[in-house]
């Protein structure tokens, strides 16, 4: 069975090989005469102002942070979900259900905290000090 997992690497290699092959073939037949105007960055036809590596918004960082926490939690939920049916047939159903509920409640505390602190809001209002 373990050799089935080799398929994963094989498929990745085939996909990479496919793109590399076509790009190499293309390199032989496509024109290649760049000039500064062609290579300039697209900014609606204007001459670009400053580099494109601009500062971006903090919100993306917050979203990524909340995402990491929840994704790890979901990864923990998968195993118990898979064996829940077996546990139920073995008579452990109520216990498993209680434990899952406790786990989700702990997760929910963090979720509610993020929500009340405005971590999930996209549009932020500055705190009004006047």
């Amino acid at each position: 069975m373990l050799i089935d997992f080799a398929n994963v690497f094989l498929f990745a290699a085939i996909a990479v090989g496919f793109v590399a092959l076509i790009l190499t073939v293309g390199k032989l037949i496509r024109p290649d005469n760049p000039n500064p105007i062609k290579r300039s960055v697209y900014e609606c036809g204007e001459i670009p102002i400053g580099p494109g590596f601009a500062q971006f918004n903090m919100r993306f960082y917050l979203i990524a942070f909340v995402f990491v926490i929840f994704d790890v939690e979901i990864a923990f939920m998968y195993p118990v979900t898979v064996i829940f049916r077996d546990l139920m047939q073995a008579g452990w159903g109520l216990l498993a259900f209680t434990e899952i509920t406790i786990f989700i409640l702990i997760l929910l505390v963090g979720f509610i905290y993020a929500w009340t602190q405005g971590g999930l809001d996209w549009v932020k209002t500055l705190s009004n000090e006047s």
């Binding site: 398929n7 760049p34 300039s40 697209y42 494109g52 990524a64």
Partner: protein, 389 residues
């Protein structure tokens, strides 16, 4: 296939590896063809919905348009913009394609037609598609373009936000089937509509709705196509891409549409299950499966021309404030439902049939309503309203 190769004189391991390579090349060709054809299908359906023709010149009914587009893009000059991060710029398309093509390993084309039925199938499916986020972020960052950067950031924020509800809602089918393997999930359903996963319990319906909305957003489909909102961001993270590198993004996007349809079908809509009497007709099973996928894809394209685009703050609050709590409710509700009805499977069957009947009723009501409104709004040809010029 192994047996054939062994019979011509290869030792078992070589035979296994050879057959794996051959299968993967066949799947790649099928994948590229499906991705290409879907671009054409989308354009034709869009044309139909907007009362225009769409591409119909290359080949019969434009059937070869995607080949012509591909050849044209290979022949186009490949520009890397001034000041771009050249390495990342070149690597990014590979990540996108590997992320989508990797799902083909566990993609169930029908009953028993699966490259490798990994025991972690569904989990693998979710994790390998996360590679697309890297590709999108790299493409956006490395282009040295403000549109690309914003588009890439938005795309990444959107995909990771919607991955949580999708991951949570897929827990419900896993609870019901008790396995992660795609073949196992498909086998736990039946061929009759009320034996499909989506009608197995009221909470499965809820999780299906959450899953479908979430995967629309993950595949950057309208109404969630903000990363490529033409009116705001030119063309998002692939603004600076040209030639075949652009085609790779294009291909992985439309292949993603197929993967979306395939995952929906195999997990929620019964996959390629056949009635007991027809068991063993693999081709028929594949055809049934592809027909269901085609219906799902048509619905997705239909949504594109029906719904307006979301605003970014609405998009984020939909994911975090509505879908995620909904997914929690669906998961806990399903666990409780299974506990309550574990000794009375007949109740489950009755509820499933009732839900299917309600679904059919809603579908008929919807169809009648749409027909009435189409008839009311139809403008007769040659009437003053159709001769505006």
């Amino acid at each position: 296939m192994d047996a054939t190769l062994i019979s011509i004189g290869l030792d078992p391991l070589t035979a296994k590896i050879t057959s794996m390579v051959i299968i993967s090349v066949i799947v790649l060709l099928a994948f590229v063809t499906i991705g290409g054809i879907l671009t054409l299908v989308e354009r034709r359906i869009s044309g139909f919905m907007q009362s225009r023709l769409g591409p119909n010149r290359v080949g019969p009914q434009g059937a070869l348009q995607w080949v012509a587009d591909g050849v044209k893009l290979i022949l186009k000059e490949d520009l890397i913009p001034e000041g771009a991060d050249r390495k990342l710029f070149r690597i990014a398309p590979y990540f996108c394609l590997v992320g989508i093509f990797g799902t083909m390993v566990v993609f169930p084309w029908g009953k028993g037609v699966i490259v490798a039925d990994l025991n972690v199938g569904l989990f693998y499916f979710i994790s390998i598609t996360a590679l697309v986020v890297f590709g999108v972020l790299m493409a956006g960052w490395s282009s040295n373009n403000k549109w690309s950067l914003l588009g890439g950031m938005r795309a990444a924020a959107q995909i990771v936000s919607y991955e949580i509800p999708v991951g949570m809602s897929l827990l419900v089918p896993i609870l019901i089937s008790g396995t992660l393997s795609m073949g196992g999930i498909m086998a736990s359903q039946g061929w009759l509509p009320w034996e499909w996963m989506v009608f197995k319990s009221p909470f499965a319906v809820l999780s299906f709705i959450i899953f479908f909305i979430g995967s629309l957003a993950e595949a950057n489909r309208t109404p969630f196509d903000l990363p490529e909102a033409e009116s705001e961001l030119v063309s998002g993270y692939c603004t600076e891409y040209s030639g075949f590198r652009y085609a790779v993004f294009f291909l992985s996007e439309w292949a993603n549409l197929f993967v979306l349809g395939g995952l929906t079908t195999s997990v929620f809509l019964g996959g390629g299950n056949l009635p007991g009497a027809l068991e063993g007709f693999t081709i028929l099973s594949v055809l049934v499966y592809l027909a269901k996928v085609a219906v799902v894809i048509f619905v997705v394209i239909w949504l594109r021309w029906t719904l307006p685009r979301f605003r970014i703050d609405q998009l984020m609050s939909l994911s975090w404030k509505y879908l995620l709590p909904g997914a929690f409710i669906a998961f806990l509700g399903q666990a409780a439902y299974m506990l309550l009805t574990q000794h009375t499977p007949i109740v489950q069957s009755i509820i499933a049939v009732l839900m299917f009947l309600v679904f059919v009723f809603v579908l008929i009501r919807f169809g009648l309503k749409v027909r009435v409104s189409i008839n009311e709004q139809r403008i007769p040809v040659n009437s003053p309203a159709s001769n505006v010029s």
